[in-house]
């Protein structure tokens, strides 16, 4: 490290670089575990470059190159081009609707030739983070104003909506993570609280019998009115508010949620969400499914929780200390689908058990805390907002991905940062992290 050019290395946070390297290394080993077959000459295959782990190693090398370029770049570049790149990203995403390539049922890829494909929605995370940082760091911005809050939300949600139209629900959801960054900058806490309450209500609707839930809600409202009866006497608005909240909750629970599940979501999505809370969804109620049947398509299939089941089996069979490196039977038997990409965590869980998982997750937690620390030591708003965005994106990816493999979250295609196989994903996170490092290295400069 000391041999590095002092100009580049000056101020760079080596802790994060080390963590980055460790995680990418773990990722390649995990992919190796998934691909490994006993009795094959893995070295030869590795050098042949045909296997996923050698490809991933190649990607990692490429990413190192990009990272070096980023570290060599001037940090002013990022502020200067933030808005431009955002517009470029949005245009790319729009372009996919025209020249997009269909991979695994989602038209969100652009072919770059030579077998490489680019997913603009993936890159757009970086651009959105930069654009949000740029907007928030505007000198005359008062983030307490509703208008500026709405603009910030719009910047974030535009690519999310585009992603949704590309049937990339997972990627669309990632943009929600920017709310954490905005929250740090002063977005009212009520929004987060309402959002979380709404989530809790939806989950409750799915798990609890509708009538029981309605009665429970009514009881809670009545109890509140009883407790707050003194205040209500003084302020009749409070009563109105409680009644209104109760009415909204019951409406959501009785009508809105079933409507969304039956009419907005696709059948498989409803099924996945239901299976995440351990229930079966009856596809015959689904509008999309009905129209499909009417159109003479394949009839409804059985609730499909094969992925979650196999994923839980693989992780669960790891036990306390795991089966050991390359000894996982589920991994070797290819029981978990998509194990080298979205379900990579299962190979880790099986091979190293609870101990391995905990250490691994602590690494992530350390990374996140470190990024938050870095964010807080920034003097410029731009850097801070950007740092929080990075932390939020990574956090969201980890949460959703891991929760999905352990059956706490419905299955959506979302990668485990730096671990999952895939060039786009690895590149995105590399760029995200190394731009942050560059900005952090220049934290003494005031960026606008």
């Amino acid at each position: 490290m000391s041999t590095r050019n002092s100009f580049v290395s000056k101020g760079v946070d080596w802790t994060i670089v080390t963590l980055y390297a460790i995680l990418v290394g773990i990722g390649i080993l995990c992919i190796f575990m998934v691909e490994y077959r006993s009795g094959t000459n893995w070295l030869q295959l590795f050098l042949g470059g045909k296997t996923n782990y050698s490809k991933q190693l190649f990607f990692a090398g490429f990413c190192t190159l990009i990272a070096t370029f980023i570290l060599l770049a001037d940090s002013k570049l990022f502020t200067a081009f933030a808005n431009l790149t955002y517009v470029f990203g949005i245009l790319l995403m729009l372009a996919t609707f025209v020249i997009g390539k269909d991979i695994k049922g989602s038209r969100s890829w652009i072919s770059l030739g030579g077998g490489f494909n680019l997913q603009p929605a993936e890159l757009c995370k970086i651009f959105a983070a930069l654009a949000l940082a740029k907007y928030m760091s505007m000198q005359n911005l008062d983030f307490t104003k509703k208008r500026s809050q709405l603009i910030a939300v719009a910047i974030v949600l535009l690519p999310a909506i585009l992603s949704r139209f590309q049937h990339e629900t997972g990627l669309a959801l990632v943009y929600l993570s920017f709310f954490i960054a905005m929250y740090r900058e002063g977005l009212p806490a009520e929004i987060l609280i309402i959002g979380i309450s709404f989530g809790a209500l939806v989950v409750a609707t799915l798990t609890v019998d509708p009538n029981t839930l309605a009665i429970t809600l009514t009881l809670i409202a009545a109890l509140l009115i009883y407790i707050l009866r003194r205040q209500i006497k003084r302020n009749s608005k409070l009563l109105m508010m409680i009644v209104a909240t109760w009415a909204i909750c019951v409406t959501i629970q009785r009508f809105a949620v079933p409507y969304i599940f039956n009419n907005v979501f696709e059948c498989y999505q409803s099924q996945r969400i239901y299976s995440a809370v351990g229930k079966d969804y009856d596809c015959s109620q689904n509008k999309h499914n009905k129209s499909e049947i009417a159109a003479g398509a394949k009839s409804s299939f059985k609730p499909d929780d094969y992925n979650v089941r196999q994923s839980k089996i693989a992780i669960g069979s790891g036990g306390f200390s795991g089966r050991g490196f390359l000894k996982g039977t589920q991994t070797r038997g290819k029981y978990v689908p998509e194990q080298h990409t979205d379900f990579i965590f299962t190979s880790l869980g099986e091979a190293f058990g609870f101990v391995g998982c905990t250490i691994f997750l602590l690494l992530y937690l350390f990374l996140l805390f470190r990024i938050v620390n870095i964010a807080e030591r920034q003097r410029s708003t731009f850097s801070r907002v950007y740092a929080y965005s990075v932390a939020s994106i990574i956090f969201f990816h980890i949460t959703v991905n891991v929760c999905m493999t352990i059956g706490l979250f419905p299955i959506i295609g979302i990668a485990l940062p730096l671990i999952s196989y895939g060039g786009s994903s690895l590149l995105t996170f590399t760029v995200l992290i190394f731009i942050l490092l560059r900005l952090d290295a220049d934290r003494q400069m005031v960026l606008r």
């Binding site: 006993s38 002063g186 839980k312 669960g316 039977t329 290819k334 099986e350 997750l361 956090f395 059956g407």
Partner: protein, 721 residues
């Protein structure tokens, strides 16, 4: 710079931490507290291959193997991999049509799923195996797997040894914890079944890792958890293969049974039930066909008459009747009865063969002359024993004696489904005559081994053992010892090593009986039957039965002074005991005691072996069966011919003469058949209709284990010995 909202950084960090805690809790739940995932993972990924051990071998008393193991091959298919199989050539090799091929495939997929290897054609013949082996490359998804099957070098003891067969669902249900799986073989009858646990050994399990499509990836943990197969343990029996073979030979072409027991140990030396079958018929490819044929055979070759056939013992019961009366103290050996040719004290007349006065002047004389009157009287004295006040109680005491002697109870021989035959309960007589309305007279012929009394051949042989031993016996059994005997085995065999003392009468009682039975062979009914160099004791019997001609019975033991073998022989519907059963018993004793048959007697062996004593009804059945088979063959041939003709007709329409000859339908075929059949000299002509009907009736009677008819019409007829 901006410290505004800085406290919220803590909140963000807490959110991060919270989520991680939630994840960790779920991980603890999944990985530490849920054992079901581990199990599910093993079910997923570990394929257990069962390694079949060699079954144990059954040896005779001279350590000759009565059965051995050999390798046979199964054609096994994994339907999912069988795409691209050359179906036509496979079907040609197996001699089935494609419809049958499809049917079997469907059945396999339905029963055992498409990914598991299942038997497509089992137990291939050597020739077929060779042909398939050469062509295996044409049949992807098909494999030849070996399995161990039985062979019987001596072709003997089929019913005793039993057979092994593939387990079915009901067997699996009954033996849930036996560790059997579909496709396993298990002992279904005979010793194979009784000693299944010993013979089957311990299956080894090899564990392999398989992937999501059930393809084997390699050994699991380098075979650390594999268990190797432990071969089944051998059984050492008391059977003498040569005696067994001889007995089977002697009983050939007859229906009947013979049992020889070593009274000193209870070990069974030979057990024959005739008609017999070649045990090799139930292994190999023709197994199914042969089994079907045997199960339908009216003479029931699968039926072990030695332990299941119930026969009236007739005069062979007399020695036991005497022993009971002596032990009860109602007679002494010197007791005599003045018989003048019949016993008429009860209103009915029981005839006796001898008219000269004094032929029953003592027990010894009465036994030697087989005096019906004497034993009727002795029986009445036992029932009317003043010690027990009335006939019912007297009878109960008498029955208790009988049961002690193994009559009317299952002896617990080590073969499955032994029949206990019958010594009727008082309830039976109460029902027939009313409570206390029957007495010693009503059941008089029990005294000469008739009435409702029946016994299995093994019970008769066991009775002989007790008399030969002067009052004790060992439970008859085959297996003397088990290789590497374990505690379980010792516990099981304990009952065969325990001496059962029946009565403790003085030596003189038995001496009288022995002398009487010896006299039978000197000047009595068996005086014609000799065993070279051996003094033996015997009793002949000619039992009346409702199924036709009398059964020929013979019980004996030898040598007289130190008995080493006790034999009971029954030949159904063969007449006098001394004519057929007697010589067979004598040859069995001679073979066992002298180890060989005297050269000048071999021709006699051949004569008996060739003598055909199968009842006419059963023969008729065979003839009919053969006729049906021939008719079917001819019909098929005609049909094939007709088909060929019609084909040629299509080609050659002008040839009208030919079309004349084509049988129009089955009607015509039948007519032709009837024309053909009588001309066929190999087949005996069918009986005229009336006779046929009666014979058919008889036929069914004979096949149903010879139960005693309720009617007593035949009772007054003579019973002769």
């Amino acid at each position: 710079m901006s410290v505004f909202n800085q406290s919220r950084s803590r909140v963000v960090q807490i959110i991060f931490l919270l989520i991680f805690v939630v994840i960790l809790i779920q991980l603890i739940n999944l990985q530490i507290f849920s054992s079901k995932y581990k199990l599910a993972a093993e079910n997923n990924a570990i394929y257990r291959k069962i390694v079949y051990p060699d079954r144990g071998i059954i040896f005779d008393r001279k350590k000759k193997a009565m059965l051995e193991n050999t390798i046979s091959y199964d054609l096994v298919v994994t339907p999912i991999e069988s795409k691209g199989t050359d179906t036509i050539s496979l079907c040609t090799l197996l001699n089935i049509d494609t419809a049958e091929y499809k049917r079997r495939m469907h059945e396999i997929v339905f029963k055992y799923t498409a990914v598991k290897p299942s038997v497509f054609e089992g137990l291939l013949s050597q020739e077929l195996y060779a042909k398939l082996y050469e062509n295996m490359y044409k049949f992807p998804g098909f494999n030849l797997t070996d399995r161990s099957v039985r062979t019987y070098p001596f072709n003997t003891g089929a019913q005793v040894l039993g057979y092994i067969a593939e387990v079915d669902t009901s067997f699996l249900k009954r033996h849930k914890d036996g560790g059997y799986e579909m496709g396993d073989y298990a002992g279904m009858n005979g010793l194979e079944r009784t000693y299944e646990k010993v013979l089957m050994g311990e299956r080894g399990i090899k564990r392999f890792i398989r992937d999501n499509r059930s393809r084997i990836q390699g050994p699991y943990e380098n075979g650390m958890f594999d268990t190797s197969a432990v071969a089944g343990r051998n059984l050492y029996t008391s059977v003498d293969v040569e005696v067994q073979q001889l007995a089977e030979k002697l009983l050939a072409n007859k229906i009947g049974s013979a049992v020889a027991i070593n009274p000193k140990t209870g070990g069974i030396i030979a057990m024959v039930s005739s008609p017999n079958y070649n045990p090799n018929d139930l292994t190999g490819s023709a197994r199914r066909k042969n089994l079907g044929r045997m199960l339908l055979d009216t003479a029931r070759p699968m039926f072990n008459r030695a332990i299941k056939g119930q026969y009236p013992p007739g005069s062979t019961f007399k020695p036991l009747g005497a022993v009971i009366a002596l032990d009860e103290g109602v007679i002494t050996p010197n007791y005599g009865y003045p018989c003048y040719g019949s016993y008429s004290n009860c209103g009915v007349i029981v005839k006796c063969e001898h008219k000269n006065a004094g032929h029953a002047a003592s027990l010894r004389l009465a036994l030697a002359n087989s005096c019906n009157s004497y034993f009727s009287q002795v029986f009445r004295m036992a029932i009317d024993n003043p010690d027990y006040h009335n006939a019912t109680l007297g009878y109960l005491k008498w029955k208790e004696y009988m049961n002690k002697f193994g009559m009317g109870t299952a002896l617990d021989v080590d073969l499955p489904s032994e029949n206990k035959a019958s010594v009727p309960d008082t309830a039976v007589y109460n029902k027939a005559y009313g409570r206390n309305r029957w007495n010693s007279c009503t059941i008089l012929t029990l005294g000469i081994g008739q009435d409702k009394m029946t016994a299995t051949p093994i019970q008769l042989a066991n009775m002989m053992c007790i008399i030969a031993n002067k009052g004790y016996y060992y439970t008859p059994h085959f297996v003397d010892s088990i290789e590497h005997e374990q505690l379980d085995d010792t516990l099981y065999l304990a009952k065969y090593r325990k001496k059962h003392s029946v009565i403790h009468t003085s030596d003189t009682v038995f001496r009288a009986v022995h002398e009487g039975m010896h006299d039978v062979t000197v000047y009595g009914t068996a005086s014609e039957i000799k065993v070279p160099g051996i003094e033996y004791c015997a009793k002949t019997g000619t039992a009346q039965n409702p199924h036709g001609k009398n059964h020929s019975l013979f019980v004996c033991f030898a040598p007289k002074d130190n008995p080493r073998i006790a034999v009971a022989v029954i030949v159904e519907n063969a007449g006098f005991g001394a004519t057929w059963a007697g010589p067979i018993g004598a040859f069995i004793m001679e073979k066992y005691l002298n180890d060989t048959i005297a050269a000048d007697r071999l021709s006699e062996v051949e004569r008996i072996s060739k003598a055909d004593l199968i009842p006419i009804a059963i023969k008729d059945w065979y003839v009919k069966k053969e006729n049906q088979r021939q008719a079917k063959l001819i019909l098929e041939a005609e049909a094939a011919k007709a088909e060929m003709n019609s084909e040629s007709k299509q080609i050659n329409i002008e040839e009208e003469d030919n079309s004349e000859k084509i049988p129009i339908g089955i009607e015509k075929n039948k007519e032709q058949l009837e024309m053909i059949l009588p001309n066929n000299k190999n087949i005996k002509p069918a009986l005229p209709p009336n006779k046929k009907d009666s014979s058919k009736k008889k036929n069914t009677n004979t096949s149903t284990a010879l139960l005693i008819d309720e009617s007593k019409k035949w009772l007054v007829k003579k019973s002769k010995a």
